[in-house]
């Protein structure tokens, strides 16, 4: 039971990931407009049908996966690096540094959900780089708060106290004695983070603030599809189910990972 619950979501995720990575070498035609095919429903030739401009939906879904994974990778990379650094330094040095960093984290946490990302993408203009920037600005705080809390408790562990007593330098203690022990909770946070970022990127594109046409995103595909729900429901069903399946897979894997690594005091 436990195994199938991991294998199915893993296969779904890997499938989309491989398709996204290999997409430049696949015979795809995501931007090719074929007028006679406009709004054509799924058939044996084109499995998922065509959109309102006569473009093949499956090809566009694969390009959308590319957008999604590209954004997720970079946002996690940036947020994880900045967040871990800020959190660890804040907890390690304490005092004024901690006071200031905690206030900064509080300010960023005061923006509800996706709102700050909407504001930033709106102000800086659409485009995939700006989406990465906007979501990283929102994303680093979670990692920083988690790292800070964990480091505060790790700081009092015997092996760290021993290292301090031996005169080991701070960067070395952080690198070898603190950060490796932070990895498990950070990996779990990052896994759930991916689910959030995939939805957020699609949400921004849904609002017209993400990647720009003709580039494909699952979010902008859903937005285009909502105008044709009665005549061509496949246009909104295909990207929606893909998005749901991918996010669901990530969340299931996150759950299982948490059970596996058994991290306590984590309540989402």
């Amino acid at each position: 039971m436990f195994k199938t619950q991991i294998i199915i979501p893993l296969i779904i995720l890997l499938l989309w990931l491989v398709l996204a990575i290999l997409s430049p070498w696949l015979p795809l035609d995501p931007n090719h407009i074929i007028l006679p095919n406009i709004l054509q429903p799924p058939s044996s030739i084109e499995w998922l049908g065509y959109d309102d401009l006569g473009r093949p939906i499956l090809d566009r879904l694969i390009m959308g996966a590319r957008t999604s994974f590209f954004v997720s990778f970079w946002v996690i990379f940036v947020s994880l690096t900045v967040g871990t650094l800020v959190g660890a330094l804040s907890a390690w040095f304490g005092g004024y540094i901690d006071f200031i960093f905690v206030r900064i984290m509080d300010i960023f946490l005061a923006f509800p959900g996706i709102l700050l990302a909407i504001a930033l993408s709106a102000i800086m203009g659409p485009g995939i780089e700006n989406v990465v920037f906007a979501l990283s600005v929102v994303g680093w705080v979670g990692f920083a708060r988690l790292t800070r809390a964990q480091t505060l408790s790790l700081k009092r562990r015997e092996h760290v106290i021993a290292a301090i007593a031996l005169g080991v330098k701070t960067p070395r203690i952080l690198r070898y004695h603190i950060i490796p022990l932070l990895l498990a909770p950070l990996i779990i946070e990052a896994t759930f983070g991916i689910a959030g970022i995939v939805i957020a990127e699609a949400g921004l594109s849904f609002l017209g603030l993400g990647v720009q046409p003709p580039a494909a995103s699952w979010g902008s595909m859903i937005r285009d599809g909502t105008s044709y729900m009665l005549v061509a429901p496949h246009m909104v069903l295909a990207p929606g189910f893909t998005l749901l399946l991918v996010v669901l897979s990530v969340n299931i894997l996150g759950d299982k990972l948490r059970d596996l690594l058994d991290v306590k005091n984590h309540n989402t």
Binding site: R103, I104, D106, I107, A110, F111, P112, G113, I114, L115, L116, I118, A119, L120, A122, I123, M124, G125, A195, I199, A202, G203, F206, L207, G208, L209, G219, I222, R223, G225, T226, M229, L230, P233, V236, G240, L243, L244, V247, L248, N251, I252, D255, N267, T268
Partner: protein, 307 residues
């Protein structure tokens, strides 16, 4: 309680100051010249200069910040570039719709989560538990900008039971509230389950059982009552997700609230109005969080003393 109140309000004040400063700085993140971006390519140099002066963008940054702050304290948010009306009037007109939607979403979340979470906890590892947790997993995974259109497709376009969009009468609130509340319901159902499971293991529950109390009395008076504290806190903290999600929900259902106003002003490059919308939503969130904390401390003395 007084010292807790004081320290909590002080930290709220610093957060509010920081939030306002960050929103103030937003306009300076516009690539190139923000005034040019707002007026477009066709603007004459005189137009540019007069708007720059009107917004105070020709002043040094610190002076601008001071001006923004002092205007804000007097309730003056400037005028909309698009409609020329005072921004504060536009916000007052739009805010009730968002509040109504958020409260309805909250209600949906509580009505779904309480029974689902309780049943899951009371019948742990049963088919009910698995079903409730599956719902919870689906609920957090389904994006509201897809759930909304799907509900419209089913209940409005196919069955014709509910209006497609707009804000006319209580029926028009049903689909937006479900769209907004589902994710929160999913998170909350998990929390209710986890909290109840913890509480059910406490000694006082065993005592209540030992003295022969009815199971329903144990659950309502002893278990749910003690579980309500953490649940209230989570509700307060998750309200931010609700307010953020309101932006997308309002767009889907053409709901005339602050969220729709935000996106409209983004499209019109009415940046002062965008700033004001973000400010209102964020400050409401900070306010709710502070009130939740105070309420929690008032209900549970342990919180007061630990600060």
């Amino acid at each position: 309680m007084l010292s807790f109140l004081f320290s909590r309000l002080l930290s709220t004040l610093t957060v509010v100051l920081g939030v306002i400063t960050l929103i103030f700085l937003l306009i300076h993140m516009v690539p190139g010249d923000p005034v040019q971006a707002m007026l477009g390519e066709t603007a004459t140099p005189t137009d540019l200069e007069s708007l720059r002066q009107a917004l105070g963008l020709d002043q040094p940054l610190l002076t601008q910040w001071w001006l923004y702050m002092s205007n804000l304290l007097q309730g003056n948010l400037g005028d909309s570039l698009y409609s020329k009306e005072p921004i504060i009037d536009i916000l007052i007109e739009r805010f009730p719709a968002t509040l109504e939607l958020a409260l309805a979403g909250l209600l949906v979340a509580v009505l779904l989560a309480l029974p689902l979470g309780s049943i899951a906890a009371l019948r742990k590892d049963s088919i009910y538990d698995n079903g409730a947790m599956m719902f919870s997993l689906l609920g957090v995974s389904i994006p509201n900008f897809w759930l909304g259109p799907m509900l419209i497709l089913l209940f409005s376009l196919t069955l014709g039971w509910l209006p497609v969009s707009g804000r006319e009468g209580p029926l028009s609130l049903v689909l937006p509230a479900i769209t907004l509340g589902t994710a929160l319901a999913a998170i909350l159902a998990r929390m209710v389950r986890a909290t109840l499971l913890e509480v059910l293991n406490e000694d006082y529950i065993r005592t209540a059982r030992a003295k022969g109390l009815r199971e329903s009395a144990i659950i309502i008076h002893h278990a749910l009552r003690n579980a309500s504290l953490p649940i209230i806190t989570i509700l307060g903290l998750q309200l931010g997700t609700l307010l953020g999600g309101a932006v997308i929900t309002e767009i889907i259902f053409a709901w005339p609230g602050i969220g729709q106003l935000t996106i409209e002003s983004i499209e019109r490059r009415d940046y002062p109005l965008v700033q004001a919308c973000i400010l209102v939503i964020s400050l409401s969130y900070v306010l709710v969080n502070t009130l939740t904390d105070i309420l929690y401390a008032w209900l549970d003395p342990r919180v007061r003393y630990s600060v």
